[in-house]
């Protein structure tokens, strides 16, 4: 009963959020008191989607987030494996370091990182923004991968090794197939972390690296509601798709509470 209530509440909220944006995209002059728009038009939305600045932002944003995801996962993998297996004291230290970006107020974090990049002389470039995004992205990747690997029985790896497999073969044929769902979830959600960044991209990129999220924020500071809604959907739809990929994995606690032996 309660579950249905919560599901309906969340579901309606999300439906309202996406719905109101979707209707705004296909209408024009949708103002009070119209519940259903009086006039429909795809011109503004089409123009926004066709515009070169939108294309550039889409390309930059995608490249940026893919790069961040790949690097974050690559860095996170060995750390996650170590964290999943070890029970030593050092684990606490690493976890504490991972925790740090979430505790530092994001305004201060973004300002500090951008000054650091400025001092290195690299601010305003795609590389700088990638580095900046890694700070929130890597802990996220580590957390998800650690959770994934904790459920993975690494003795399978050892068995394969004793049977003569090289580390690479073990990885390809034993480990990865088993944790594929978790890996996909980690990749999808890390991508979303990078995709959603505004302040870090703004400050680290000195406003020169434009992602769809940045376009959206700029559009709100004086823009056409149809354009704003179009960009908002442009930002949100990939997130919905990626989260759908990620949500099927068991790491999110969808099991029925059996304690793993």
């Amino acid at each position: 009963m309660i579950r249905i209530a919560v599901r309906s509440a969340l579901g309606s909220l999300l439906a309202a959020i996406v719905g109101v944006l979707a209707v705004a995209v296909v209408s024009i002059r949708w103002v009070f008191p119209q519940v259903v728009p009086d006039e429909f038009s795809l011109d503004l939305a089409a123009r926004t989607l066709r515009s070169p600045s939108t294309h550039d932002a889409l390309v930059s944003g995608t490249v940026l987030s893919i790069a961040v995801t790949l690097i974050a996962l690559t860095l996170a993998w060995p750390a996650a494996r170590a964290l999943a297996r070890s029970s030593g004291g050092g684990q606490g230290l690493v976890v504490a370091i991972m925790f740090l970006p979430s505790i530092v107020p994001s305004v201060g974090l973004a300002m500090g990182i951008s000054v650091g990049l400025l001092n290195l002389g690299v601010d305003g470039s795609m590389g700088a923004v990638i580095l900046a995004h890694l700070v929130p992205a890597v802990p996220y990747a580590v957390a998800i991968l650690t959770a994934t690997l904790m459920r993975y029985d690494h003795r399978l790896d050892l068995q394969a090794a004793t049977l003569g497999a090289t580390p690479l073969q073990v990885l390809r044929h034993v480990t990865l197939p088993q944790i594929r769902a978790g890996l996909v979830a980690a990749a999808a959600l890390t991508f979303v972390v990078s995709w959603s960044q505004y302040l870090l991209t703004l400050l680290a990129g000195s406003g020169r690296v434009i992602t769809p999220t940045m376009l959206l924020f700029n559009a709100t500071a004086g823009g056409n509601p149809v354009v704003i809604a179009t960009l908002a959907l442009l930002v949100t739809v990939p997130v919905i798709v990626l989260v759908s990929f990620a949500s099927g994995s068991p790491e999110n606690g969808s099991d029925d509470g059996r304690v793993s032996t």
Partner: protein, 304 residues
């Protein structure tokens, strides 16, 4: 497995595969990034490493910031928003976790999907959508008008650019609620459910099960989550920037304004504000840690 700090004679290869080496790159990127930002920020607030001449070392930035006529107003506003949204988010998230595990059966994928989505949708988009829904001439107001409840926009309640920050709180609380649910769910399903069921068979009331079994069991996830949620609410920029008005403004918005001032000496002021925010977060994290020490049931190291 060998501990991190034990240095024995071993081959370079073994050293390279040790936990310290494999976690080092990750720790470096994150630790250097966030750590540098912290140190740099605090240092800059005292005048170190200023981008232009004319910034004295000392408490000047703090004096200027605290002397600003709107500082206390902004500080109270920021604190109010952070506390209100954290209470709602943590409270709501805990309740949802509790409801979901106090009934048998799997958590459905659709529920997880909904919660994940709520967490993942970027803040800028979430704020834009909330505006479209809840402004005085927004969608909900129009439905009310169609239903005959009101006929002018100014009869609809005010959520945005208001002195109570209601819209900002709604934005933060909804996202944080989903976040807390997500973070507490693994512990809730893996450990708490079992313990709660046991407690039920032993005759514990619902309230006892919740307070004395469920909460302590999820505390290892709930307490850090509360810290993260509070830190986020206090330092969040996008939500107050998009949903707030000119007065009062949150400290995060004020900090960024100082940072982007063409007068580069104001950077120190920006970092002074963010350091103040950091200190508040530190205090709250400390308090939560104390709560954690007194109420967390020690977990058995053998269950892994």
């Amino acid at each position: 497995m060998t501990g991190l700090l034990t240095i024995r004679r071993r081959s370079l290869g073994q050293l390279a595969r040790s936990p310290m080496a494999t976690t080092a790159p990750v720790a470096a990127v994150v630790g250097l990034g966030a750590g540098y930002a912290l140190v740099e920020g605090v240092g800059a607030s005292f005048g170190f490493g200023a981008p232009v001449a004319g910034v004295p070392i000392g408490l000047d930035a703090y004096r200027r910031v605290l002397a600003s006529p709107t500082f206390w107003e902004s500080a109270c506003f920021s604190l109010w928003i952070a506390v209100a949204s954290t209470v709602l988010g943590v409270g709501g998230g805990t309740m949802i976790s509790w409801w979901w595990v106090s009934r048998p059966g799997r958590i459905r994928r659709i529920d997880l999907w909904l919660v994940n989505l709520t967490v993942s949708i970027p803040h800028v988009a979430w704020a834009v959508a909330l505006l479209a829904l809840l402004t005085q001439s927004g969608f909900v107001a129009r439905m009310a008008a169609a239903a005959g409840v009101l006929d002018r926009p100014d009869q609809f309640p005010v959520f945005f650019a208001d002195s109570a920050g209601l819209g900002i709180i709604a934005h933060l609380a909804t996202k944080e609620l989903a976040f807390v649910t997500l973070v507490t769910l693994p512990l809730a399903t893996l450990r708490a459910r079992h313990a709660v069921t046991t407690a039920e068979t032993l005759g514990a009331t619902r309230s006892q099960r919740f307070r004395l079994v469920f909460l302590p069991t999820i505390a290892p996830a709930l307490l850090p989550a509360t810290a993260v949620v509070f830190a986020f609410a206090l330092g969040s920029y996008e939500a107050p920037a998009l949903l707030g008005g000119q007065r009062p403004r949150t400290l995060s918005v004020v900090a960024l304004e100082y940072f982007r001032d063409s007068d580069l000496t104001r950077r120190a002021d920006a970092f002074a504000v963010s350091t103040i925010l950091g200190v508040v977060v530190l205090a709250v994290v400390g308090a939560l840690w104390l709560v954690g020490r007194s109420s967390v049931r020690p977990t058995r190291r053998a269950d892994r």
